[in-house]
Symmetry: C2
Subunit: 273 residues, 2 copies
């Protein structure tokens, strides 16, 4: 069983991609909506929330954890890996691998990253890119207003286009060839971001990379796969409807966004966690 | 000792006004920054946070509580007053009194309210206005993006002006004569709001009204005033520097905003609450 957590809505884009790539694996999702957003909070506070989320998913039976929240991965991944014995897949490691391969093959090795304040200030992406590709130039840009605009559903409003323009202008000036969408909300703005940054720039979507990384992990972890296969032989095959979605708070607008992201009615289960 | 709480920064505008109006009264502030914002969360979750905040302030010695957060007051005030024996002053009751007096005296009895989603959807302002002035027409407008824009310090950005315009246009069409700033962040945008809604519209600032309401309460509560006077005789007079500011999370941008609101260096004390 795969456990995925995020501070809220963003991780649902990861969960939705995981469903598509690994439909045979049962999925547990936890969205820490009561504490959202993480990206404007301190590293210490985010680490505390991440621990609670992982504990909850383990209690529910998760055998692999995906941190679908860039802010949590950027600030806390090293500490969490030291504290937990369960495999933890994070969006950042997966995304960096894709971005550095792309820029090395074809281009100018100038990589831009957009993310929350917590993600950019952690320096996590920059550090990991430099380890894999010391010749790369890395340009981080905090975009704190994109998450609220996306959560409002303002995906094509003029104000959103102006905010995107303001945030991306410095990255255009640096002539990046690759742009990391370092927040799992941002895929919902791909159309505006690609248009503003230029068609020649390759966008790397951390949601897709995290799901791909999970797939590789499962392909190389015969024990988890074989457990799943055995169960499938002995019982009913897994249906997407059996995946469970927990949240620490529910509002009507969250429910609407969840249904939109998954393309079906999602039963959000409210927890006290 | 006065205890003030808010979900974050907004309540500091109330605390700052209280310091100016009642400089002789010691003040305890609690900003629940780890859970901010409240305005996009469910009534049930906000009530849970409000209880924790009041418990914390009572433990620290508060004798009167001010709920400086419109979202918490709008969703939870009746339950909280039933649960606690300490006097609780809330921004809404104070603000409604000022708004209805103003519109009855001079004008057309059309009152607009801007606030967070939780505040507007609670219907609390509307209900209280109707009780005091059944002939009033009330128009509520959710403005969920104003808090993030203000917390970013985008007080004069073109995007902020456009968002303000979008939110206020329906209220202009209703030809309101009074506009309640139903969120303690909004006084930081008074310049844009007044310009957009029209000079003839009276703005009612919930921060100022809450502080004024506290002053009236203290003037009519001789036991609290006399306790304070007695202590003043026996010990040093109260200095603003003795006021204490607790927060459940600290970031550099929060510290900067706090110093700006109070016009001096504020020592933010991080709690686990």
């Amino acid at each position: 069983m795969i456990g995925i957590f995020d501070s809220g809505v963003g991780g649902m884009t990861v969960a939705s991609t995981v469903e598509q790539i690994c439909p045979q694996i049962p999925l547990l999702y936890f969205g820490d909506v009561a504490h959202t957003p993480y990206g404007s909070k301190s590293a210490e506070t985010i680490l505390g929330y991440a621990r609670c989320n992982i504990d909850f998913l383990l209690e529910q039976g998760a055998k692999v954890i995906i941190i679908a929240c860039n802010s949590a991965a950027a600030t806390s991944i090293q500490t969490l890996r030291a504290e937990y014995s369960v495999p933890i897949i994070d969006v950042i490691t997966a995304t960096v691998s894709k971005a550095t391969e792309g820029t090395k093959k074809n281009r100018n090795r100038r990589i831009g990253i957009i993310g929350t304040r917590a993600t950019i200030q952690s320096g996590s992406y920059e550090e990991q890119i430099k380890q894999r590709c010391p010749a790369c130039h890395v340009y981080g840009q905090e975009c704190p207003l994109l998450v609220p605009l996306i959560e409002e559903g303002w995906l094509n409003h003029r104000e959103t286009k102006m905010v995107v323009r303001r945030y991306l202008t410095p990255l255009r000036q640096h002539q990046i060839d690759t742009l990391i969408l370092g927040c799992t909300h941002y895929p919902l703005l791909t159309h505006l971001i690609q248009k503003r940054i230029g068609r020649q720039v390759q966008l790397v979507d951390s949601s897709i990379e995290a799901a791909q990384c999970l797939k590789s992990f499962l392909d190389n972890s015969p024990e988890i796969i074989s457990n799943t296969r055995e169960k499938k032989k002995n019982s009913q095959p897994h249906h997407l409807e059996k995946n469970r979605f927990f949240v620490s708070d529910v509002t009507p607008s969250l429910q609407k966004l969840a249904n939109k992201i998954f393309g079906r009615n999602i039963n959000l289960i409210k927890t006290d966690a």
